[in-house]
Amino acid sequence: MGERADVWQGTLALMVLKTLQALGPLHGYGIARRIEQTSGDLLAVNYGTLYPALLKLEQEGYISSEWGTSDNNRKAKYYKLTRAGRKQLEREAREWEQTTEILARFLSPGKESA
């Protein structure tokens, strides 16, 4: 637990938001699959963390959910990005880029003199 879980939770939330932005309304299973695919199956999404993350995003008002029907006529709960979610996505994406950039500088030695 502790900080690492938070970071993971944070990135998971970002991935969920990005997925919803890219694909539009999607159910939990679809989100999980998409994330796994996008990561080139490097990430395995643990459903035990996905659903609490979805719940939290919904409580914070970044996504909303409603029951709908899937392509193969199955009832499923669909999540979609809200306006606040879009903004949050932009903000988090920016922050994340910054963080990775900074980390990249640390991790690639010799360039710090620049």
Partner: protein
């Protein structure tokens, strides 16, 4: 923002849980199905597809649980659960719950009631805008023969302070004045004030209807105008909306009503009903010698009372140079109005507050002891819960939730008790507690009560809870084993006994000291005999009585009338009866003595009386004669002095036939010849020792300031028997003069010690409560200990111990703890009673008699509380005791 939204949603998640659970199950289900379908499409067998999907999904229940937690607030949910469980437990033991809640409610109720007084009197600002800027301004007199920090200012000094200061936004003067209100119904006497127009600006209050006084009203030549209280307007004038501009008759003169004050307004006294302009004349304003005003001022913004004090002292110094005769030794004393009102009662209230605090602590100790007792009954239940996986913190939390529940219940009932207490307090209306009408159970009292209840809940809950959570699971589960934590619990309970005995001793010693003081107070010789004397007030005011002759005729006629009534022994009138008012004193000169230097003039109190006054009160005449109606203005002016005056100014001499003059020897006033010496009496109150006092015969006292207000009638039997015939007799003499304050002098005496009686009663009540609780506590622990040791006692008896020895053993232990408590309590009382010195009279805070008596009392109570359980031990049948295992 979003976080807050999330929290609110989670809070909402506490409700409609099942629907949400179903919803999530459906979502999980659809998730699983989609996964299986995908797996099938990928070519797996149906069984394999399902297996893989389930593996990937992981523990569905854990996921559900985690989502469930995320959906609402698990801590709050647990609290709700604990509360529900707690409520169930408390309902299952109604007897236990009732005892605990009642005990708590007594403690909390007493505290809430006293706190509501403390809050209204000591904490809440006065009901005037920016009241912290209001101050009283007194003269501070320091002379060799007279010192007073709060001397009434003279009109001259008031006027000079007013004109020369730069520290006050405004300054107002007033003095008490009662009026005979006639016309429109029964004549009544109404208390009121003569006030300067500026007083209302000082208070920054306006009339509710109409207006307050203008500067024009407040002129000697101004119209007669009056402002009345809301209460008088309602009761006497039926809330007449057309009251403005009408006139009312006060002392036979008509006054135009210009305003009605708001309901809560009664400045400065609670019974004030009328305000008229004081209209000081230029002569008044130049008079620095008659000290008859009260002065209230409003400090300018950012000016402190100390700064105002400094400036007024500079002005006072200047005045001393200008008027050495009257202003020598006179400085100013600026006292914040709040302090003036709250200051005198602070020691009492703080002491009472301390006492109820102790009572609450004793309550806590008692309840803790009860909970410990119950914990032993519950140790199996708790053991099982621990064995089933409940965390110790969870158990602790559960038990503390139960304590908190008890605390909240106690608080609710306690607030009901507090309301009753406040009601009773208002009915008793102790004369020394100001702002009685503002005392109520308001939000702050509520918060305070809740806070102390929860604190108490924590105090009494934490020890038993820790004990319970620490218990050994194995031991408590083993059938038939004696519970092992019992010993530790008993030790804790013994500690509690010591503690509550000690606390009880402190409170009871406090009450004992107050009782001793009160008994001493009651036995102080008054110098007169109040029993059998009826007193009432009739003040002859109006045109008929503006001259001395008219007044004298009235007194003489009324006394004749009264003395003719059956059952009346003698009757007389006096300016003020003893034990009611504190009065100023006058400077006088003795014929033939060297004139004293400025500020050294002899001083004495003074009263005007009719003949027969001393006989009616049975004040002994030591030498000389009483006044008679033959002491007319044409005859030689005579005066009677008391023994204190004779002793002080004629030591070793016979004062009879010596002559004195009111004022300095050069003043153009007549000489008075001393015609008699009477015994000293307690004049202001029972506590103040007699001071030099002179009595003037009303028939010669031509200054209209010497008005007789109070009447005394000595009856043959009970004073109140003649009350109704007195009313009738006075109505015959003058139907326009209302009779008020008709009561026995014994009642007056009783009222004069009412503050002390009130303090004692309240403190005594708390002490009784403390004593009772301590006794119950000791009894409870002893009974518990005997029950625990039944087997041991059985064995002892079976092995041949004498029953007496067993009782002695048990008794010895219980009494030992109590004795330790008493010793600690006595030590504590030694340290604490010093704080109540200002409430004591004639007793030292460490009064040995009180300490010994209380120690004995507590000893007896402890012995009794231990004796009954111990006697039960004596009856233990060894066979039964041994078989019970």
């Amino acid at each position: 923002m979003n976080k807050l939204r999330a929290w609110l949603l989670r809070f909402g998640g506490l409700f409609r849980k099942q629907r949400r659970d179903r919803d999530f199950s459906a979502e999980m289900d659809s998730h699983l199905q989609m996964h299986i379908e995908d797996n099938l499409r990928a070519g797996m067998s149906p069984a394999e597809a399902r297996r893989q999907a389930l593996i990937k999904l992981g523990g569905i229940e854990q996921t559900k649980e985690s989502v469930r937690d995320g959906r609402s607030l698990p801590i709050l949910e647990m609290l709700l659960q604990d509360t529900r469980y707690g409520v169930r437990m408390l309902r299952k033991n109604p007897g236990f719950t009732a005892v605990v809640v009642l005990t708590l409610a007594l403690g909390v109720g007493a505290n809430a009631a006293i706190f509501s007084v403390v809050h209204a009197v000591l904490l809440k600002p006065l009901p005037y805008p920016e009241s912290h800027r209001l101050v009283m301004v007194w003269e501070k007199v320091f002379l060799p023969n007279y010192q007073n920090d709060e001397n009434n200012p003279s009109p001259g000094n008031f006027s000079d302070w007013k004109n020369q200061n730069t520290v006050f936004e405004n300054i107002g003067a007033y003095r008490n004045r009662s009026f005979n209100l006639t016309g429109s119904g029964e004549p009544v006497r109404v208390e009121g004030e003569q006030v300067s127009a500026s007083l209302f600006s000082v208070l920054q209050l306006n009339a509710a209807i109409g207006r307050v006084f203008t500067a024009e009203d407040d002129q000697p030549a101004g119209q007669h105008v009056v402002v009345m209280s809301d209460g008088l307007w309602k009761s006497r004038f039926g809330s007449d909306a057309q009251i403005l501009g009408t006139t009312i008759l006060l002392d036979g003169e008509s006054y135009a009503v210009v305003g009605v004050m708001p309901p809560a307004f009664h400045f400065p006294d609670p019974d004030d009903q009328l305000w008229v302009p004081i209209a000081l004349t230029p002569q008044d304003l130049a008079n620095h010698g008659s000290h008859n005003l009260l002065v209230t001022a409003r400090l300018k913004q950012l000016v402190t009372a100390a700064q105002a004090q400094g400036e007024l002292n500079r002005i006072a110094q200047h005045l001393t140079e200008l008027y050495p005769d009257t202003n020598t030794g006179v400085k100013a004393n600026v006292v914040p109005l709040f302090e003036e009102i709250a200051g005198p009662v602070r020691p009492v209230l703080v002491t009472l507050f301390g006492a109820v605090g102790f009572v609450l602590l004793i309550v806590c100790a008692n309840v803790a002891s009860l909970l410990l007792g119950r914990a032993s009954a519950r140790h199996r239940e708790i053991g099982i819960r621990i064995a089933l996986g409940a965390g110790r913190t969870r158990i602790l939390r559960q038990l503390l939730t139960e304590s908190a529940l008890l605390a909240v219940l106690g608080c609710v009932l306690g607030l009901v008790f507090a309301r009753w207490g406040i009601l009773a307090l208002k009915l008793l209306s102790p004369p020394h507690i100001p702002r009685l009408d503002e005392i109520q159970v308001d939000a702050s009292v509520f918060v305070f009560s809740l806070a102390i209840s929860l604190l108490a809940g924590f105090i009494f809950g934490v020890l038993p809870a820790l004990h319970a959570a620490r218990g050994n699971v194995n031991d408590s589960l083993k059938e038939g084993t004696r519970e092992s934590a019992g010993g530790a619990r008993l030790r804790t309970r013994n500690l509690l006994v010591i503690l509550e005995t000690a606390l009880g001793v402190v409170v009871v010693i406090g009450a004992g000291l107050l009782l001793r003081s009160f008994l001493i107070l009651e036995s102080v010789p008054l110098g007169f005999q109040p029993r059998g004397v009826l007193t009432f007030r009739v003040i002859p005011r109006g045109e008929k009585y503006s001259q001395l002759a008219g007044r004298t005729a009235f007194y003489q006629q009324a006394i004749k009338h009264i003395q003719a009534l059956p059952g009346v022994k003698s009757a007389a009138a006096v300016s003020f009866i003893p034990l009611t008012n504190s009065r100023g004193s006058k400077g006088f000169s003795i014929e033939g003595r060297i004139p004293p230097s400025a500020g050294q003039i002899p001083m004495a109190g003074y009263d005007a009386v009719t003949p027969g006054y001393f006989a009616s009160l049975q004040i002994p005449l030591r030498s000389g004669r009483d006044f008679s109606w033959q002491d007319t203005p044409q005859a030689q002016r005579v005066v009677i002095i008391n023994e204190a005056m004779a002793r002080t100014y004629w030591p070793g001499e016979d004062p009879l036939r010596k002559r004195i003059k009111l004022g300095t020897a050069d003043d153009p006033y007549p000489w008075w010849t001393i015609a008699g010496v009477v015994g000293d009496i307690r004049e202001f109150d029972v506590l103040t020792p007699p001071r030099p006092t002179m009595y003037l015969p009303i028939s010669q006292a031509d200054d209209s300031n010497y008005l007789l207000r109070d009447w005394v009638v000595r009856a043959n039997g009970d004073a109140m028997n003649i009350a109704s015939s007195i009313r009738a007799a006075m109505r015959e003499v003058d139907p326009n003069l209302p009779v008020s304050r008709l009561r026995s002098l014994e009642q007056v005496r009783s009222i004069s010690v009412a503050p002390q009686r009130f303090n004692l009663s309240l403190f005594g009540l708390f002490a009784a409560l403390a004593l009772l609780l301590a006794a119950v506590g000791i009894y409870g622990v002893m009974a518990y200990s005997v029950a625990q040791r039944t087997r041991e006692i059985g064995i002892r008896v079976a092995l041949g111990a004498q029953r007496g020895e067993v009782v002695r053993l048990l008794l010895g232990q219980g009494v030992g703890y109590a004795a330790l408590g008493v010793i600690l309590g006595v030590a504590g009382a030694f340290a604490l009673t010093r704080l109540m010195t200002s409430l004591l009279y004639g007793v030292q805070p460490a009064d040995p008699l009180t300490f010994v008596c209380v120690t004995l009392l507590l000893g007896c109570v402890a012995l009794l509380a231990c004796y009954f359980p111990a006697r039960r031990a004596m009856r233990v049948d060894p066979i039964v005791a041994l078989r019970s295992e």
